[in-house]
């Protein structure tokens, strides 16, 4: 995997996370949590735009035309294939996956690639509030199933100990390798990852996930609408 492919994976996942957050903007347990869901959704959609914009200056844009018609070409984690089924799923994504993405952002900002060092720093400031939100709700308690699923997918997304993320760390492009990323995530959440079976033989290194599947049709249709800029004519 190239650095561009990792940036694209982060961008796709932040885009989907932003959309899934936004779906809870009228369903969260309190008015304040509604507003926070909307705000965090906007943040992550904005972050995805910045990350997509880094691909050209990186000189490494792995996006293929097939993304327009095949949802399975998106690099999102399985956790985002469907809408969050419960508030517990929201909180697990907010606490574990969003923080996992922030830890990777930190590794990019502290790495050797100039465009990432300069463009991604502001995201970390905004992500601080996502972290506070997720950690506080996590402490209030949620079901174990979504929490375990989120940890599983976060660790799979970091990749195997000897995979491409480890190579990017060795080259200096990332300040942290898979083991350090996991340790940083555990440290930030003040809890060890649950006992998990990570089966790297079933892992797709392109999409950085083991579970097959793809974004639901409705969401993919919405994404295609965004990409085709179908409302552009109205602005003429």
């Amino acid at each position: 995997m190239s650095l561009g492919a990792l940036v694209l994976s982060l961008a796709d996942n932040k885009q989907l996370l932003g959309l899934r957050y936004a779906e809870w903007a009228t369903r969260a347990p309190s008015l304040e949590a509604d507003i926070a869901a909307a705000a965090m959704g906007l943040d992550d959609l904005g972050h995805s735009r910045v990350l997509y914009g880094c691909l050209e200056p990186l000189g490494d844009d792995p996006r293929e035309p097939e993304r327009e018609s095949n949802a399975a070409r998106y690099l999102n984690l399985a956790y985002f294939d469907e809408s969050f089924a419960s508030w517990g799923h929201f909180v697990a994504a907010n606490a574990v996956l969003d923080t996992a993405f922030s830890v990777m952002l930190q590794a990019m900002v502290e790495g050797s690639t100039e465009v990432l060092k300069t463009r991604l720093r502001k995201m970390l400031m905004e992500e601080r509030y996502h972290f506070l939100h997720g950690r506080s709700w996590l402490r209030a308690g949620i079901d174990q199933a979504p929490l375990t699923a989120a940890w599983q997918e976060a660790l799979e997304w970091f990749g195997p100990p000897d995979g491409e993320v480890a190579q990017l760390h060795s080259s200096g492009a990332l300040a942290l390798g898979p083991g350090e990323l996991r340790a940083r995530l555990e440290e930030r959440l003040d809890s060890a990852a649950p006992e998990l079976q990570l089966d790297w033989t079933a892992w797709d290194p392109g999409r950085r996930r083991s579970r097959p599947g793809q974004i639901d049709d409705r969401t993919f249709g919405m994404l295609r609408g965004l990409e085709e800029n179908r409302y552009a004519a109205a602005r003429v």
Partner: protein, 75 residues
Amino acid sequence: MQFKRVHDDVRAYEVFARKLRQEPLRQIGSVVAPDDDLAAAYARATYDEERWIELAVVPREAINTLWAPGEEASA
């Protein structure tokens, strides 16, 4: 459907902000949250539309009111 908060034990926080260094902080609103972390996250999400140079939350119970409308100021 009856509105129900997940957190039973919440408290009110007043939100203060200013746009310029030479301005004093002023109260711009309030949030309800179970702890300081969520209060900060909620205040930022709710009141971040403007370009504040400072934004702060204070538990309402930490404010010692000397007098209030309808009350006489003590000498």
